[in-house]
Symmetry: C2
Subunit: 116 residues, 2 copies
DNA sequence: CTGGATCCTCAGGGATACTG
DNA sequence: CAGTATCCCTGAGGATCCAG
């Protein structure tokens, strides 16, 4: 077996970038929330209903995280009952590439493993 | 605000696919390991040295997971000291799209948030 | 060297109740 | 409705020791 000395030439900074991305999208909720919101502006309960199994507490926390990372925008209307709308930023739209890739691979993998 | 009734038309099965993908790639090690192995066949310690912060226990477990998902292949040479080589499968190569997307977005996000 | 076995810690995340 | 506060538990992941 030949040992190439430069076989990881393309993955020093790249690995960092991937790690950065994963750090922002970590947990099992962030991407689901973003997908929901990329489909259009929604209210808190609306998101909660759409994402199966998420608790209010988690949704609240995740939305705050995403807001800090400038991926979602929170807009409060002064009304009763309270109305708060969430939507994605331009920056979040750049994630669609990632989402598409994951979606395609998800299909592929399911076919490979389960539907073999 | 107008409410579209079909604003989530494109994300029922798609969401499932994304969730499937995330389930296979969960944790912070799987993708790093795959990236390392996509760069070439490697031995256990070699991977461990390449991935910063991973413990032997984790690496062992993650490799087993990846093997079960048919993403890596384990090859044992009967020798002393023991030699075990890991490499990626064809199926793992289809992940490169995902990895590229994550890498690109990682760079983009870093520029957006940190280097603004 | 390649890991399995064990023990431990801590953060992710669930359930419930409560406020404005 | 839109959350916050609290309590609790599970499981990811680290450290260490040990065997083939």
């Amino acid at each position: 077996m030949k040992q190439e000395t430069q076989n990881n030439d393309c993955s020093k900074a790249d690995l960092m970038a991937v790690k950065d991305a994963l750090e922002v999208l970590n947990g099992r909720w962030k991407l689901q929330i973003l997908i929901a919101l990329l489909n259009g502006t929604k209210r808190f309960k609306q998101i909660a209903r759409e994402i199966d199994g998420i608790s209010d507490r988690m949704l609240s926390k995740e939305l705050k995280d995403l807001e800090e990372n400038q991926l979602v925008v929170r807009k409060v209307y002064d009304a009763f009952p309270p109305i708060v709308e969430y939507s994605t930023t331009k920056h979040a739209e750049t994630l669609s590439t990632v989402i598409y890739a994951l979606r395609e691979w998800g299909y592929l993998h399911r076919k490979k493993i389960i539907g073999k």
